[in-house]
Amino acid sequence: MSLSESLRSVTSGSYSVSRLGEALAKQSRSVRWSFGAICILALYLLPWWPSVPVLGWIVETPGTSFPSVLTDQVVIFVLVALGLNVVVGLAGLLDLGYVGFYAVGAYTVAILSSQHANLPWLLCMPIAVLVSMIAGVILGTPTLRLRGDYLAIVTLGFGEIIRITANNVEWLGDSRGISNIATPPSIGPLKFTVLDAKPYYFLGFTTILIVIFLLRRLENSRVGRSWNAIREDEDAAELMGVDTFKFKLWAFAIGAAIGGLAGSLYAGKVQFINPNNFPLQLSILFLAAVVLGGAGNMWGAVVGGALVAWMPERFRGFADKRVFVFGVALVLVMVFRPQGLIPRKIRKERWLESWKPSTEADLGGKE
């Protein structure tokens, strides 16, 4: 299969995903739920996909263990894309230093479980999420008064500050990094060891499902509506009573918390981190994942994150040229699908069909 053919199949694939979504929306609740359950089950079995004929040839990652690609790359990128999508896609704030929050999460786990204490991973993880969230608030409070390009530059600086600080402060392990980071505790037969990546995948995938569930709740609420209004027209939103600063800060904090969560999973998996794990390039790739998938669409972020993580491994056969192939693939996808693979949709107000006026049209007077 030539490159252009495979690209066309990717873009047309995303068309049919959209169409599939529309077809599903018409089905009854039970049909939709069982379809969702089958998808989730199939994705839980993802580590075994390479042994399936045809499908295996598509997803396989030559030269690298597929389950390791899933845990070290795909799960992390999907989580990070979900978090960054809140900031960039929903609230419309350009964040070029997102790797900073990811690093804060990873370093919190590393410090608390190895460098300066011996806390179990399960305790470190929520602390890491909280610390990242606080980092988001600390960065956001002064900078969210800026807009657009200015915000992008300040966040870019933040990502670098975190990496350079970690590189130069001995307490943070300086350039040697931190090793012997705690792994998640065993759950029954699931043992988190270096020998088997699958338990990490199950943990990561479950985390992704929980994050999606929580983000959906936010999207379908006053919070999500405020974020959308801010992205569309910040001034108009504020004049309609939206406390724009508060909701922008929430977007930053929630995005940072998810980034920190991804960092804590990563640290628990690789058990060794150093500042080189958190380069500026990673921030750019995270942003590429969101934009490629479709900024503002959670499913887009999932697909974008997975593709950006998986593609370089799939193309490893191209050796030195794989980054080039990856770049060309990104450019071509953006040419054919400028809004991303699964673009943001105009909301379907399903309740409208069943809405009945409670009384005849009346403003009800003012209070």
Partner: protein, 258 residues
């Protein structure tokens, strides 16, 4: 409680060397429709922007419902009860019509991240209330048939009405309309006049900026005329119409008087 809902007290607004508003004093009484008119560049929209907190007045004060608005943020002023529309339509284009109005209704809601994540009863109550308010307002404005469409896909007249619906959803005491009839056909203007009267009949006070003289004369109770940032006349439509200063401002001074 005073009869005046909003008072502008010697408001001056300067942008560098330009004085956009010069010692402007006028009041809006509860329940009236006050027209704010004047030639292009007279300071009408600046006046709106000072009232809604977009600009902080260089000097002078704005009092709403007996208290000063000085130092309040824009969204706080909206929550106090002043809502506005924009001269150049500023909807949330990629959001549906009903969502646009629900953003306005959210000004009266308090659900935040915690309530939404946990799905607290207040979240569900406020969502249902927001939907009902939004649909009732869209019905009232006569645009409920396109409730589920993106704002940017609505026809121009619908967009103008949607802006009014969104402003009303914040449950204001004072509704500020910035040239709501701009670009309307005469027939649409007549409909809009009826609509503004209906809005007033619901108990709202309306501040109306308008270029179209017939609209202003037909619908307002009183008129304030601005010219070069100064109030040059205040009175009923017929008083203002015959005021020589107003005629001069709009039509210029005849050569032999100059």
């Amino acid at each position: 409680m005073s009869d005046n809902l909003l008072e502008l007290d010697h408001v001056t607004m300067k942008f560098g060397g330009v004085t956009a508003l010069d010692d402007v004093t006028f009041a809006i009484r509860r329940g009236e429709i006050l027209g704010l008119i004047g030639p292009n560049g007279a300071g009408k929209t600046t006046c709106f922007n000072v009232v809604t907190g977009v600009y902080a007045a260089t000097s002078g004060g704005v009092h709403f419902d007996g208290t000063s608005l000085a130092g309040l943020k824009r969204f706080q002023i909206t929550k106090r009860g002043i809502a506005r529309t924009f001269q150049n339509i500023r909807l949330f284009p990629d959001m549906t019509a009903v969502e646009n109005v629900m953003v306005g209704a959210d000004a009266n809601h308090r659900t935040s991240v915690g309530g939404a994540l946990l799905g607290l009863p207040r979240h569900h109550r406020e969502e249902a209330e927001g939907r009902n308010t939004a649909m009732e307002l869209l019905t009232f404005m006569g645009i409920a048939d396109r409730a589920g469409d993106a704002a940017r896909n609505l026809p121009y007249g619908y967009q103008r009405r949607l802006e009014i619906a969104r402003a009303l959803a914040t449950k204001p005491q004072l509704l500020c309309l910035d040239e709501p009839a701009a670009g309307f056909t005469p027939a649409e203007k007549v409909e809009l006049m009826d609509l503004i009267r209906k809005i007033r009949a619901q108990g709202y006070t309306v501040l109306l900026i308008e270029h179209d003289m017939s609209l202003v004369m037909g619908v307002t109770d009183r008129i304030v005329v601005l010219d070069f940032g100064k109030v040059i006349a205040t009175g009923t439509p017929s008083e203002v119409q015959d005021n020589p200063a107003v005629v001069a401002a709009y039509l210029g001074v005849p050569d032999d008087d100059a």
